[in-house]
Symmetry: C2
Subunit: 186 residues, 2 copies
């Protein structure tokens, strides 16, 4: 038998791929079973319900996002550089094959009506990102509104890249962020 931790990871990663590509409600538990190679009985031993699996998938996405941001901004040594590096990270992500928009925004649009837990998780993720940007802006000496504006640019770039299919949105948003930073710090 496969170790419980390994099986759990297989299920979460398979569900993540399927949910992200097709949407949560369009993917049945049997499809998750087939993709993960873990029996339904085992899946329900690891996750009490599909909702719990969705929560685990979002948690997995959050960890991936945090790791990606951390890695992307590690090379920058100033707060301003870190802020701009966020958009470089987005640029690379938008160009990955299979990019399909922000999984949190997608999940919110799909499930906000039926699952308060999902809505709350999405809100927490976006809040955490806003706080991250706010810390950097404060460190750079910028005003409070600038943090909100940078975050809005990042959100807008994600939906624009997803729907219009234009990865350039990251570079455009980055250029806008530069203008805002210059204007605020002048």
């Amino acid at each position: 038998m496969i170790d419980a931790t390994v099986a759990r990871n297989q299920v979460v990663e398979a569900a993540d791929r399927l949910f992200y590509a097709q949407g949560v409600q369009a993917v049945g538990m049997d499809a998750v079973r087939a993709a993960a190679g873990v029996s339904l009985k085992r899946i329900y031993a690891l996750f009490p319900s599909k909702d719990a699996l969705v929560a685990a998938v979002l948690e997995h996405r959050r960890a991936q996002w945090n790791a990606g941001i951390a890695a992307g901004t590690a090379g920058a040594d100033t707060a301003r550089g870190k802020i701009l590096a966020v958009f470089d990270f987005l640029d690379g992500w938008f160009r990955e094959p299979g990019f399909n928009g922000c999984a949190f925004i997608n999940a919110y649009g799909e499930l906000h009506g039926g699952s308060p837990a999902v809505a709350r998780t999405v809100r927490e993720q976006k809040d955490a990102f806003q706080r991250y940007i706010a810390d950097l802006v404060r460190e750079a000496g910028g005003p409070e509104i600038l943090a909100a504006q940078i975050a809005i640019l990042a959100e807008g770039a994600q939906t624009t890249a997803a729907i219009a299919g234009t990865p350039d949105a990251a570079a455009q948003a980055r250029a806008a962020a530069e203008v805002l930073l210059d204007a605020a710090l002048a």
Copy 2:
């Protein structure tokens, strides 16, 4: 019997309210029937399938959006004023009770995997908005990238207002747009 046009409007408007508040997949055709006061048989005589009803609802939303933008920007007499008026329009919309984000973004997140028609409709709507902004930016004498940046701000304000529940996103995006306009036209 109710006139066909009237019945059609009742169905579309009821479906719009339900779909927007709860999501498309969470609302059954029977709930649409109850809310519209039109029998299922009649609904299926007017729309061959639920997909067709979804398409009609999105078309209805597009008309509403265009009318709202037109009314919101009618008072401005310069291209720059019209661009900023778009954010004022968003501000008013975000503060309406029941505001739940952009219906097109929500529908895309929910249905992009299963309904190419919906994905295409959403893309067309966003393209049309981008062209509208691009025309205004060109009229104001701004560079091409500015149009994309303004559109990104508008998209980001919508998702931020929806998820974080902060209608202030409109004013913050508007202020950012002002900075970008000033920098580009200086």
